[in-house]
């Protein structure tokens, strides 16, 4: 146990440091930061690898607030709410205080998220132990339907992205008969396309291609890099927004498609509503930083609840973490707690250490962070590209994999252009095997009787919820379209 802890703690510190640096680069989201790290975790012990990835998520959520406060450019989507008051505080000469509030609130939110994660995950997975093949199939369908309806701008494009992911998952050997499908006589495709390559391609390379046309971001001065932790009076003042942020983050993190950005803005609005200093919001309010930062760091922990207990990731970052689990032969879901309880408990310890590490590293890493943010964008992008191709090659010493990742990069940038959401596709790739193998297994057990999916109460319930989600989204979109049409008619 001591040996395991000895490897977990450095992994937690390393992951947090990597996450803060990645999150601090404008436009590099937590999922991209994690995707860049994925290939490097391949040769690590499973527990060390997943701890490092999870702690990268934790660090990136805080890192995003650094450029948000210093240069008015959020490093991550979740830090967008921090820009409002963070940058105002910086303009008032209080950049150090703003960074301190962000770091401390992220730490508080992270600890709260850990409590929720540990308290809920195993209970939920205990329920999931009663799952049969029809229920697993239904769970996969539910996960895909929920993400497809919530991600992106349209239900149809979300479903298309999910289906494309499912199609990619059919490449390789058929899970029942062992026949080759869509392999084009290529030996490299026999074992299918690893989800890791899809994620690195879609998130990291695709983003790199998209960002080619974007201008360089503003630069910060090094005098702003000194963090000042809140005074006891300020501690007291920001306690309520931190609680609001933590509660909303805990709830939103577990909701499919919720994520840090939604929870941050919700927390900001609620903190203003409950504040005694409403007038300060938008003009440099410490509460306006504390609430969103507590929320997005809570999300970094609670987003793992559905992923660990049911195997369904609720956000891009938890999907990448799921990829890390799969890469090491670990299948998140109820059986993970039975077959690899040591990994789960190691992850808890690592994430707790990661939250503490964030407080220490967040304080120490400011200078390297500023140095990195101030590098010219072309140089940074060039190194990210080099790191991706080198890291992907390192997984199986395969040039074919590098080419495949570049192909998914092209697909990712095309998806951005056509506004096709990435998460449903990633989920389709990840869940494709679970959906198909359990669907067919269920039918083999029931001798081809399709009623098995409605006779199993869990499967029937999950499929009903999936149906409600899709029809609910459809009805909502139709109503919106009718509203737009009637508004247009009235204005003619």
């Amino acid at each position: 146990m001591a040996v395991v802890v000895l490897s977990i703690i450095p992994a937690a510190f390393g992951g947090v440091a990597w996450g803060i640096l990645g999150g601090a680069l404008p436009g590099i989201s937590p999922s991209i930061t994690m995707a860049l790290l994925l290939p490097f975790t391949y040769s690590m012990a499973p527990t060390t690898a997943v701890v490092m990835l999870a702690c990268t998520y934790i660090g990136a959520e805080y890192g995003g607030s650094i450029p948000a406060i210093l240069i008015r450019t959020p490093g991550t989507n979740a830090a967008a709410a921090t820009v409002v008051d963070g940058y105002m505080m910086k303009m008032q000469g209080k950049a150090g205080e703003a960074l301190g509030i962000s770091l401390y609130s992220g730490f508080v939110g992270g600890l709260f998220g850990m409590l929720v994660l540990v308290g809920l995950t195993e209970r939920l997975s205990a329920v999931a132990l009663a799952f049969t093949p029809p229920a697993y199939f239904a769970l996969g369908v539910l996960g895909l339907s929920v993400i497809a309806t919530l991600a992106g701008e349209s239900l149809v494009t979300g479903l298309i992205a999910g289906l494309l992911g499912l199609m990619i998952s059919t490449i390789g050997t058929d899970p029942v008969t062992g026949l080759n499908r869509f392999t084009f006589d290529s030996p490299e495709l026999l074992s299918g396309i690893p989800p890791l390559l899809v994620m690195v391609g879609l998130y990291a390379v695709g983003d790199l291609f998209v960002k080619t046309g974007e201008p360089d971001w503003a630069k910060a001065t090094s005098e702003e890099a000194r963090i000042k932790f809140p005074s006891p009076a300020l501690w007291k003042r920001i306690a309520r927004p931190q609680l609001i942020g933590s509660l909303l983050g805990a709830f939103e993190g577990m909701m499919p498609g919720g994520g840090g950005a939604v929870s941050s803005f919700l927390a900001y609005n609620e903190a203003r509503r409950w504040s005694r200093h409403k007038e300060e919001f938008g003009h440099g309010s410490p509460e306006g930083i504390a609430a969103p930062e507590a929320a997005n760091n809570t999300v970094a922990c609670t987003a793992l609840v559905p992923m660990l207990s049911l195997g369904i990731p609720s956000s891009n970052s938890s999907a990448v973490l799921l990829g890390g689990f799969l890469m090491h032969g670990l299948i998140p879901g109820p059986l993970l707690f039975v077959s690899h309880a040591d990994v789960v408990h190691g992850l808890y310890v690592g994430m707790f250490a990661g939250n503490v590490a964030m407080l220490i590293i967040g304080y120490l890493i400011m200078s390297p962070c500023m140095w990195l943010v101030n590098r010219p964008k072309p140089y940074l992008m060039a190194f990210i590209y080099a790191l991706v191709v080198s890291g992907v090659y390192a997984i199986q010493n395969s040039i074919f994999h590098v080419g495949l990742t570049l192909g998914f990069g092209v697909l990712g940038s095309a998806m951005t252009y056509f506004r096709l959401p990435v998460l449903p596709m990633v989920l389709g790739v990840v869940l494709g095997f679970v959906v198909e193998s359990n669907y067919r297994r269920a039918l083999v057990i029931s001798s081809g009787d399709y009623r098995t999916f409605v006779q199993d109460p869990i499967a029937a319930g999950l499929l009903a919820v999936a149906f409600l989600f899709v029809t609910g989204a459809l009805v909502r979109r139709l109503r919106e379209a009718r509203h737009v049409r009637s508004a247009a008619g009235a204005s003619v």
């Binding site: 058929d174 869509f182 291609f209 080619t212 190194f383 590209y385 040039i399 080419g403 049409r485």
Partner: protein
């Protein structure tokens, strides 16, 4: 007055997307029916779900095309650009394409030239494509970066990379 929010450009994109995914569905279906039948196959078989996925994708593509075509009729005309498109903006598409060609060249050349030379080339050309200048500084950064990555992967992590023209280093 046309409804705000839906522009002809957005509808055009959706129609192109729908046509593209429809073509993917057709191609995927044709490949799916060619999967041989197995004697030990279950009731669904290896073809079963792929054919269903293709049919669903085709259906959704048709819905997308139909919806976009309807929206196009009532769509607002695109707003006139507020910023003059300069030569730099016009080159963005080419630069993005260049990034892909850059990666493809790396894949094609790394086994022949070796890791250090190829990755240095990739870094230098990416700096240029991302808007940087190719000068002594950027070439120095590319060479230093290649050396750093070689140290990280080959020496520190002991992950072999293609030796190419300099086998003694690997």
């Amino acid at each position: 007055m046309k409804p705000a929010g839906v522009t002809k450009e957005a509808s055009r994109r959706e129609i192109i997307l729908g046509c593209g995914t429809l073509a993917i569905a057709a191609g995927y279906y044709l490949l799916a029916v060619r999967i041989p039948q197995s004697d030990i196959a279950d009731v669904i078989g290896a073809q079963g779900l792929p054919k269903t996925y293709a049919a669903l994708l085709a259906l959704l593509s048709i819905i997308l095309i139909g919806r976009a075509a309807l929206a196009r009729r009532t769509a607002a005309a695109p707003e006139p650009p507020t910023i003059t498109v300069g030569p730099a903006a016009r080159h963005v598409g080419w630069r993005t394409f260049g990034m892909l060609v850059n990666g493809a060249l790396y894949v094609a050349l790394v086994t022949r030239l070796g890791y250090i030379a190829s990755i240095a080339g990739l870094i230098a050309s990416t700096i240029y494509l991302q808007g940087g200048e190719l000068n002594r500084r950027s070439i120095g950064v590319a060479a230093g970066g290649a050396l750093l990555l070689w140290l990280l992967f080959v020496r520190l992590l002991h992950i072999p990379h293609p030796p190419g023209i300099w086998p003694s280093l690997f």
